[in-house]
């Protein structure tokens, strides 16, 4: 008995010592090898993932997502929802400091939201439902909706192209232009230090950062910056990013080849972590002009021909990095559903030919645009195009660089299908194909009525039911043909502690640091 106690005590001591050694400590420079440089860190305007990954350390919004992708307060202290969801009064936390020393107040929030509502990428989605925004005293904001609008909190929590808060003077001066680097002033745990083009973007720890008191939970809770400096370095070649981490020249790297995943996972000189932010690729159909306009049977024929599994294997590498799933939202979210997905990944050439015949298809040319700017788009497209040709479709695969594709897709007369990736979103209202302005221009009566009902319903259970109807409609009218889900992985130095097995949508550099 006594011996057992000794063993237990010794085990406990060793466990505590190991934990203490593994605990990250304050200090050090983190060198992050990134694929390119972002065009701007102005989060209200830019939706580049690269920009968000960096800017989330500088700028904060009223809400953010926890580990379950639920929106929870960040700059907000309390919320008061009145009038059946038509009115919301938000009270700000006290004493929150901007990097220039100014204390955050409701005036800053009003100015930032006003700019975002006019020029922000996702601002109009929220503000087309808001009747009035008012400042009450120094620290309160009142939002009055035209009718109850369920996704408001999700939209306020999503940083990418989202409503981050700038000082009033900065937001008002910037107007529709990009905020210049010298005015990258936020309330986040790191402050902007320098952009040396072609070499790095540097952020320094903001020592006067005012923490939330809750424990860290996803992007929410206590955001404790441990590194002295974060340096984001453009390293365009994936082989160099891998070699750089192995050689100790970089501490963290992103966008790595899927084919190397298994060998890097087994390599003791480095560590890997998977992103939970499931991405997918969408093959958009043109609903405004061309051979696919209003011809849903023909779209179903195209869908029946696709071998999604083969496409994903070609584009993303080993199975650990992707899954097959017909659901539009991943199973890490409450929106996951298998409603209407029976026609996903059937890869039935005979069925495709039969449906094409019923649709009256006579071998007209189907123009399919893709890009080599993102290798996986091209790799996936070569498989999809071959599947479609095998089923008798006359596919004209047009390969462009990304800038040309973006320019051409704006003209409905120039294409029938185009492929693009869609990053993780926590709220289905943010899907690009839901917007009637996005190329593809899906705007049938049934879609309009369901999406209206979806945004006006507050009850989460009823919202899920409506979303399932929308997903079923997506598989009937086929504005997009989706892949499964793809998970990117990151490579990092074993010297870093606290990263864990998986990152959220974008890796964050608070709460982690170098080990002792």
């Amino acid at each position: 008995m006594r011996k057992q106690r000794w063993i237990l005590a010794l085990t406990l001591v060793f466990a505590l010592a190991a934990a203490a050694c593994a605990a990250p400590v304050k200090g050090g420079l983190l060198r992050f090898a990134m694929i390119d440089e972002p065009p701007s860190l102005d989060q209200q305007l830019v939706t580049s993932d690269l920009g968000t990954m960096i800017a989330q350390h500088i700028f904060e919004g009223l809400y953010c997502f926890n580990a379950k992708y639920e929106p929870v307060p960040l700059l907000v202290k309390t919320e008061d929802i009145q009038d059946g969801g038509k009115t919301v009064v938000l009270t700000l936390r006290e004493g929150v400091k901007f990097h220039n020393g100014k204390i955050l107040d409701a005036g800053d929030v009003i100015a930032s939201l006003t700019r975002w509502s006019k020029f922000g990428t996702r601002g109009p989605v929220l503000f087309s439902n808001i009747d009035k925004m008012e400042q009450i005293g120094q620290d309160q904001i009142k939002l009055t909706f035209k009718q109850p609008f369920a996704p408001w909190k999700n939209l306020l929590a999503f940083t990418n192209g989202g409503p981050v808060v700038y000082p009033k003077a900065v937001a008002e001066k910037a107007d529709k232009g990009f905020i210049p680097p010298e005015e990258y002033i936020g309330t986040g745990p790191y402050k902007f230090a320098e952009h040396n083009p072609g070499r790095y973007i540097s952020l320094k720890r903001f020592d006067e950062y005012v923490f939330r008191t809750e424990p860290e939970d996803g992007y929410a809770g206590k955001r404790e910056a441990l590194f002295d400096e974060l340096r984001f370095i453009p390293v365009p070649d994936p082989g160099t990013r891998v070699n750089g981490v192995k050689a100790g020249d970089y501490d963290f790297a992103e966008q790595l080849p899927g084919d190397l995943y298994e060998s890097l996972k087994a390599d003791s000189s480095v560590r890997t972590t998977l992103s939970q932010g499931a991405t997918q690729v969408f093959l958009f159909a043109n609903s405004s002009a061309g051979v696919l306009k209003d011809n849903y049977k023909l779209r179903q024929a195209l869908l029946a021909a696709l071998n999604i599994e083969a496409g994903q294997a070609a584009a993303f590498g080993p199975r650990g990095l992707w899954i097959l799933s017909g659901s539009l939202m991943p199973d890490t979210t409450p929106w996951y559903s298998e409603a209407g997905i029976k026609n996903y990944n059937v890869h039935d050439v005979a069925l495709a030919k039969k449906l094409a015949q019923e649709a009256g298809y006579k071998g007209e040319k189907i123009r399919y645009m893709t890009t080599t700017s993102y290798q996986y788009n091209y790799d996936y497209s070569t498989v999809m195009a071959q599947n479609l040709r095998d089923a008798g479709f006359n596919i004209d695969l047009q390969v462009y660089d990304w800038a040309t594709l973006v320019s051409k897709r704006a003209d409905p007369e120039q294409w029938d299908l185009f492929l693009t990736a869609h990053g993780f979103i926590p709220e289905p209202a943010l899907f690009t194909f839901i917007s009637e302005a996005y190329p593809g221009w899906w705007k049938t009566e049934q879609k309009r009525s369901l999406t209206k009902e979806f945004s006006e319903t507050i009850d989460p259970v009823k919202r899920k039911e409506i979303w399932e109807k929308i997903q079923t409609l997506v598989y009937e009218e086929i504005p997009v043909m989706k892949s499964g889900f793809h998970y990117v992985y990151y490579l990092y130095s074993p010297k870093i502690e606290g990263v864990g097995d998986s990152a959220l949508i974008w890796p964050k550099f608070w709460g982690i640091g170098f080990g002792k």
Binding site: V46, T121, G239, W402
Partner: protein, 314 residues
């Protein structure tokens, strides 16, 4: 000689005007919009239009060209759309890397390529010549990205003698030890370019070796080395110098692959990235500067010709 230089310099002006017009027209003919690229996939048409207005991209092309040319006369090449900084500053920052790479590489290319070319020509059709010619063909054919990654794996990852990538500024830090970052990139560039110089020196020397004055030199009883170096090598230098001049400019501006592999902030990578981003002012600026460099190098090469071959001066 001064009159010759002045005449050549003045003749550059119409070439530069024509280049500026062609560059501007061609770039704006390519589809693609910098505002849409910068704002990302989720941007709305209204948002793109608002940014186009802010950047002045919604003005007629002739107005944009006029503004650009007016700026050129004041030494202002405009503002980079992507970096929000003056074009000359962005190019200037990148020029440091490119100048160092070009200078180190060209010296190494001369030191490696020319002597091997001379030996190869002097030992023409021997086992030594076949070995050197074979080796130079091998290095001329190896893709630079493959060679670069392998050198990186050996010297940086495995042996840990040198850094994998990047190049911290020497001008900003004053730290000349940063030159170690350029060792592997320069080796990657020296291999194929030296091979070219080896081939050029060899073939040029073999051509000259058939000339009558070489036979006369031998007939006079001069020794082998004196004939090879003084009569054959010097006269064969004209074509070698010409290639070296253009290799130097190529090393300044056309090394995008090597700069990408070693993550170097050089001019070559900047031009490729700017084309993908449709950063028109940067593309226009670089092409104009590179065109000017080619013209100047052409002039310098012509002057060296005149020095090497007195007949040209007549």
């Amino acid at each position: 000689m001064l009159a010759y230089i002045a005449k050549r310099t003045i003749s550059m002006i119409p070439s530069l005007i024509l280049t500026s017009l062609l560059v501007f027209s061609f770039i704006h003919m390519i589809p693609g919009d910098p505002a849409a690229v910068m704002l990302g996939d989720n941007s709305t048409p209204e948002q793109v239009e608002a940014l186009r207005e802010t950047l002045g991209l919604n003005r007629p092309l002739y107005v944009q060209y006029g503004i650009w040319v007016r700026g050129l006369f004041r030494g202002d090449m405009g503002q980079s759309i992507f970096f929000h900084q003056p074009v000359l500053k962005v190019i200037g920052d990148r020029a440091e890397t490119s100048v160092f790479i070009a200078l180190i590489s060209i010296v190494m290319i001369i030191l490696v390529g020319v002597p091997i070319g001379i030996v190869s020509a002097a030992r023409c059709n021997t086992g030594m010549d076949q070995f050197l010619s074979g080796a130079s063909m091998f290095f001329a054919s190896v893709p630079t990205f493959w060679l670069g990654l392998n050198l990186m794996y050996l010297f940086a990852v495995h042996l840990k003698w040198l850094p994998t990538s990047g190049f911290p500024s020497i001008l900003e830090s004053g730290d000349w030890s940063n030159l170690r970052y350029l060792v592997l990139p320069c080796l990657t560039l020296v291999a194929p370019n030296s091979a070219l110089i080896v081939r050029m020196t060899r073939s040029s020397m073999l051509d000259v070796a058939r000339a009558d004055y070489v036979k006369t030199a031998y007939a006079k009883g001069l020794c082998e080395s004196a004939v090879t170096l003084k009569h054959i090598f010097r006269n064969s230098l004209i074509s070698v110098v010409s290639v070296l001049g253009f290799t130097f400019v190529g090393l300044m501006a056309s090394t995008a692959v090597t700069e990408t592999v070693f993550s170097l902030p050089g001019v070559g990578r900047l031009i490729v990235e700017s084309v993908l981003r449709r950063d028109y002012p940067i593309i226009q600026g670089i092409i104009l500067i590179v065109a000017l460099m080619y013209m100047i190098v052409n002039l310098v090469v012509d002057l060296i010709f005149a020095f090497l071959d007195p007949r040209i001066r007549i």
